[in-house]
């Protein structure tokens, strides 16, 4: 079974904990340490010198300080080193504007944050389809 490296970009400690609880125990995922916003993500990617160690999937929250989901998508797209990494957005409330904006910025999928374990499992299955 292929194990994909996944990194969560999330500033909310509760959400970050829930994500780790529900997705961290999956055998098809290697969850990298969570970063708090887009700026931290870009710094982490820069520090990953080995190209082969970059994440397969970036899961972005939308509302974050310093660099939010939309801005992070933009930054990823502008850098050829990261442009091919699959990025998805999950937000408390995914309205049509957010979905359209993020898709235009290259997000593979935009969805609302789940409210139970089953929701997390299904969301992650959907996300991995794009890797």
């Amino acid at each position: 079974m292929t194990v994909r490296r996944v990194i969560l970009v999330e500033d909310d400690p509760d959400d970050s904990e829930l994500f780790t609880i529900f997705c961290g125990n999956r055998t098809d995922i290697a969850l990298l340490p969570t970063v708090g916003n887009g700026v931290e993500l870009m710094a982490f990617l820069e520090s990953t010198a080995d190209y082969t160690q970059l994440p397969h999937l970036i899961v972005l929250d939308q509302n974050m300080p310093r660099m939010n989901g939309r801005q992070t998508l933009q930054a990823l797209r502008e850098n050829p080193r990261y442009a091919s990494i699959s990025a998805v957005v999950y937000s408390t409330y995914a309205d049509t504007t957010l979905i359209q904006d993020c898709k235009n910025l290259g997000a593979k999928m935009v969805t609302s944050k789940p409210i139970d374990a089953e929701g997390y499992r299904k969301m992650m299955d959907d996300f991995l389809e794009f890797v």
């Binding site: 829930l18 937000s91 789940p114 139970d116």
Partner: protein, 426 residues
């Protein structure tokens, strides 16, 4: 006197004869109506004599006009004026006739008048200018027409008082400015509402979602460890939080309907309704419900919004069911009879009437209108879940599509919702 010679007397006679001839000519001119008034150069300026002529009735007509009417001689002298003009300039008629018309023009508009007066001899001209009235000025429109009399020319001038018109224009400008201010206030208020909606969408849902997810988490992990009453409390927390989530999303959808983004496309209602009914597949088979979909038209509209309307109606039809009979929902359409459209000549129908009919619990017909109000609920929450927003959303969407939605029902026998929609949007 006695020393006057015969020659002198003859010359005197000749002179008197000439003056008599002149007087007779004048009389003749007066009789034939060629002359309105005589201006005679006297020692203390011009003296004027007005006449009653054969066109007296015409003169009366001029007198009754609401406009000022004057006649100007070649030198710009007022040889005739109706009383309206004299009251316009606030002077007795006797002070008006025989004066230079330019005496009544505000100094700042003198060049305008000179120009008009110059052109007026060749063509009919109009111009707006200020006329003096005592210490004030009156805004007027002058209309100059060349008059060809028997052996001389004159200019007739119609003077229209623009005071009322100017006042109306001023009022209009004022009202427009007020309207603009109101409009801006409305735009601001709309913007605030949008801001509120966006705050509600995220900031209210964030903690709510946490309540839901941690309650679910608790339930999944420790439900069996909890005493019976605590399990019940936990269930209540989860169902209340779920309800609030539905409410918030519905309110957001409702408020978002005002914000435009009106994407209009051709929508096949048959495909749309089949799609929705598919979503209710499980529910329908569980309750052994029957949903009949008759042929539905293609209409122009916003697909997402129309989907919302039919989703809400079908959802209601499947929700408010009688416990004693299997649910039966019929969705059908008929064109609206063109003959009933205000007696217009028969033509192809521009509207269709779509009905969603069920055999559920129905409602008392006195609520047929209020049922579309925001948060209006006819049934206790304990028996039927809902936010009370669904039909309000449906009505708002149909309104936006220039359609009509009405409800009718007999309690215990079912409800019928009729939507009249134009095939083409605008």
């Amino acid at each position: 006197m006695m020393q006057q010679t015969t020659d002198e007397l003859l010359a005197e006679i000749e002179n008197l004869r000439a003056r008599l001839g002149e007087a007779e000519d004048t009389l003749e001119a007066i009789r034939t109506g060629q002359v309105d008034a005589l201006v005679v150069q006297g020692s203390d300026g011009h003296a004027l004599f007005t006449l009653r002529t054969a066109d007296h009735s015409y003169r009366m007509f001029i007198e009754q006009m609401t406009e000022g009417a004057i006649t100007l001689s070649a030198s710009g002298l007022i040889v005739y004026s109706n009383s309206q003009f004299s009251s316009m300039v606030g002077e007795p008629l006797s002070n008006v006739i025989g004066r230079q018309f330019s005496d009544f023009i505000a100094p700042s508009h003198q060049p305008v008048f000179d120009e008009l007066f110059k052109k007026g001899w060749f063509e009919n001209v109009k111009g707006e200018l200020l006329v003096k009235k005592g210490d004030t000025v009156v805004s007027t429109l002058l209309s100059l027409n060349r008059l060809q009399l028997e052996d001389e020319v004159a200019i007739s001038v119609i003077v229209t008082d623009l005071t009322a018109q100017k006042e109306t224009e001023r009022q209009l400008l004022l009202k427009n400015q007020q309207l603009e201010l109101l409009n801006q206030a409305l735009i601001d208020s709309n913007h605030d509402l949008q801001q509120f909606a966006s705050v509600a969408s995220h900031d209210l849902q964030e903690p709510l979602r946490k309540i839901l997810i941690f309650s679910n988490f608790l339930k999944e992990q420790s439900f069996n460890d909890l005493p019976g009453s605590s399990r019940q409390y936990l269930e209540k927390i989860i169902s209340s939080a779920s309800r609030m989530k539905v409410l918030i999303i519905d309110i957001l959808n409702y408020s978002r309907l005002s914000s435009g983004d009106d994407l209009t496309e051709e929508v096949s209602l048959t495909a749309l309704v089949n799609e929705i009914v598919d979503d209710f597949d499980l529910w329908i088979s569980e309750r052994q419900a029957r949903v009949e979909i008759h042929p539905l038209p293609v209409v122009e509209g916003n697909r997402g919004q129309l989907r919302q309307v039919f989703y809400n109606l079908i959802n209601n039809a499947l929700k408010f069911t009688s416990p004693d009979k299997p649910p039966h929902v019929v969705i059908s359409c008929t064109p609206v009879d063109p003959d009933t459209q205000g007696g217009l000549p028969p033509q192809e129908s521009a509207h269709c009437s779509i009905r969603v009919k069920d055999n559920g619990i129905g409602f008392d017909d006195q609520f047929a209108t209020s049922i579309f109000n925001l948060f209006e609920k006819l049934n206790p929450k304990s028996t039927f879940e809902g936010s009370g927003i669904g039909l309000a959303i449906a009505k708002k969407i149909i309104d936006k599509h220039h359609g009509l939605i009405v409800a009718q029902s007999t309690p215990g026998e079912g409800a019928e919702f009729s939507i009249v929609l134009p095939y083409k949007r605008q």
